[in-house]
């Protein structure tokens, strides 16, 4: 009995070690925030167009007859990282041929218009989420956040924070390729 008991600490330590080894898997990211929306149909929302902007408004029904996987980006003119991310998103649209929808989160229309005039407008549709209601439906934790939505209107992927920097870019780019939102170059 005493002998078995003396082995207990070793056995427990080995079990812990096994879990640690599993935990070191390089593909695992403990900081990743899981979204309850993944593999679920996109939430219901109906947003008017941003006042003073030519882009039409954006609602759930726009997902009903998609021919292609699309990107949904939540942004605001007051958000500094969004400004940095804007160029990256534009390149997905202009160079890779992605379709991009926008949710303008808690923003003043005139600021948003000015912002898009300065930086360019890569968005097909932009919904004005002035009171943040759609943000709650999408379960965002802050701006910017970017989702990939499949042809059938299910949410495939969620990216928290700006798609800026090599590591983030390649991560998001890989997700876009996998989801079929863009074609791989040659």
């Amino acid at each position: 009995m005493k002998r078995i008991l003396a082995f207990a600490p070793l056995v427990i330590a080995l079990i812990f070690g096994g879990f640690f080894l599993w935990g070191l898997n390089p593909d695992r990211d403990p900081n990743e925030i899981p979204s309850a929306l993944i593999s679920q149909p996109a939430p219901n929302f109906d947003l008017p167009a941003v006042e003073g902007l030519e882009s039409p408004g954006f609602s759930r029904s726009d997902f009903d007859d998609l021919d292609k996987t699309v990107i949904v980006n939540v942004f605001a003119s007051w958000c500094v990282p969004c400004r940095a991310e804007h160029a990256v998103l534009t390149s997905f649209v202009e160079q890779d041929g992605a379709r991009l929808f926008g949710i303008n989160y808690k923003d003043k229309p005139e600021d948003a218009v000015e912002w898009l005039e300065n930086l360019g407008n890569p968005y097909e549709r932009i919904g004005a989420d002035f009171n943040g209601r759609a943000g709650i439906e999408w379960g965002i934790s802050g701006v910017p956040e970017t989702f990939i939505v499949g042809e059938d209107g299910t949410v495939i992927y969620r990216f928290v924070g700006p798609v800026v920097g090599d590591a983030q870019y390649s991560k998001f780019h890989t997700a876009l390729l996998a989801a079929g939102a863009i074609e791989g170059q040659n």
């Binding site: 003396a6 082995f7 330590a13 879990f19 070191l24």
Partner: protein, 666 residues
Amino acid sequence: MIPELGHFALALALSLALVQSILPIVGAGKNDLRLMQSASATAYGQVVFVGLAFAALMNAFVTSDFTVLNVASNSNSLKPMIYKVAATWGSHEGSLLLWVFILTLFGASVSLFGSNLPATLKARTLSVQAWISVGFLSFMLFTSNPFDRVFPPPLDGSDLNPLLQDIGLAMHPPLLYFGYVGFSIVFSFAAAALIEGRVDAAWARWVRPWTLAAWISLTAGIGLGSWWAYYELGWGGWWFWDPVENVSFMPWLLGTALLHSAIVTEKRDAFKSWTVLLAILTFSLSLLGTFIVRSGLLTSVHAFAVDPERGVYILGLLAVSIGGSLGLYAWRAPTMEGGGLFKPISREAGLLVNNLILGAATGTVLFGTLYPLFLEAVTSDKVSVGPQFFNAAFIPMMLPLVLAMGMGPLLSWKRADLFGVLQRLKFAALLSLIASLIVWYLSERGPVLAYVSLLLAFWLMFATLREWALRIRLFETDMPTAIRRARNLPRSSYGMTIAHLGVAIVMLGMIGSSVWKSEEIAFVEPGTVLSISDFKVTFEGVERTRGPNYFADRGALRVERDGEYVTTLYPERRTYPVAQTTTTESAIRSTPAGDLYASITEPASEIAEDAGAWTLRILYEPLIGFIWLGSIMLCFGGLLSLSDRRLRVGAPKKSESRHAQAQAAE
């Protein structure tokens, strides 16, 4: 050139460590004194070379040598000198170098102060210590060389995380590491004793001062870290049960248990295999902390940059050191016979309760910390375990310990008279009840658990004082006799009294600041008045100021009480342009009764900024200063006990005289 010398010194230290990991232990087996004594030279050599490497790295930081990658990514020429020095251990590589430097310092001090140890035990201990050295030096040289160059060198560095540019945090890692690494000596002693197959009272006596020294540093390190979190992070909290906090807390809990169980092994020759196991586990948990902080295994705000390759290497080190020592334990422990017998009511039994509770508490914290990992591995669900779990599981577990702590020191060895002890403590019990009732009468109503904890904190305080009074016979003899007895009490006895009082004081601070805390968060414009506790706080506006490597928005808050001016608080929001980070510098008015704590964060929105509106957070935290006062008492008690004459000179005499007696008996 100097960085290369530093790198070379590390390689030399590694080769010395390799020699030391083999020769002395082989010598101990063959009883070859020359081989055993080689350990001293190599231990000193290691500390010299690792010290040189450390000095070389510090030199690179002080002179802002941006050709060294580590300097370029963690320092900046504009940074104040003290933080340039502190940046030496601010990064993963640098802190690892500090870790190893302390490790070799401890090795050399065993060699220096261990002249009274038996030659074989000393040789084996130093060999085991060298194994740890080899592991970490090779880890550093192969995966995290602090002296890597960068070409072309940047014009200026990218600055250390500004949150870390703080005097409290500059001192926090060295103290914490002295604690973590100090337990390595205890671990080496335990492994050496297992290899030797002998654990006796003398062994426990040698182990105690090292345990105590490590425990004091760890206590100071954790206290300092919590103080830093309190005033720097701007939330007004002092403990968040974050994984990285937990991994420093677990060795502390188990180290505290070890400190007490070693007493039993020393005085009564009992709990031997348990003490050895605690010694191994305490250092194992320190290593686990190093692993978790550097591998990216768990989510934490404090973790270093993540690198899976490093994680695998440390896991390998852990497997060898923890697996090896526990294997050795499984093999040897059953042969250790238990020593002195004792009754269920005795000081031994009291210390057993202490150990069981501290062990269970450590297990709870360990489980809570790693539960997200376990759950994700089994079900791939992601959860986070927050303060709710820890508070609900940990606090009720610790309260019985406090109850026992009041009585423990009054119990006598082998067999105690519980009724007699309670008889002596009846006034302490009565006083604590009265004190709690007074608080209950004066305070706003809090939860029942708060009053129970409060009662126990007072109980611990009065029972500890009563124990001291009994020792010096304060109420039984005349005053001069009592004073003479008080003077003659050994320092270790005062150490215990002060440390136990410190626990009571810390508890008061924790209870006061978490139960009777009041908080106001508001959007304020110049002229806005908030009231909190019995203070009236007027927001007077924000002005822009400049620091050496940052600019700050400094708010001014006029504080009044009963219509009279008390003070003006200046909380700041600092922006570090190079590191592109902002930090919160809270403003605190501290009094023994409580802290008035203010911090500002950026304006709610751009519209608000134009209007000069800011988010202001004010807290009133009663008694919170007691937490740090109590922590200081814990450290001071430990230091007093460490300076006790008995620990310095007692051990060899006793073993020699025993030896002489044994010979005389033959």
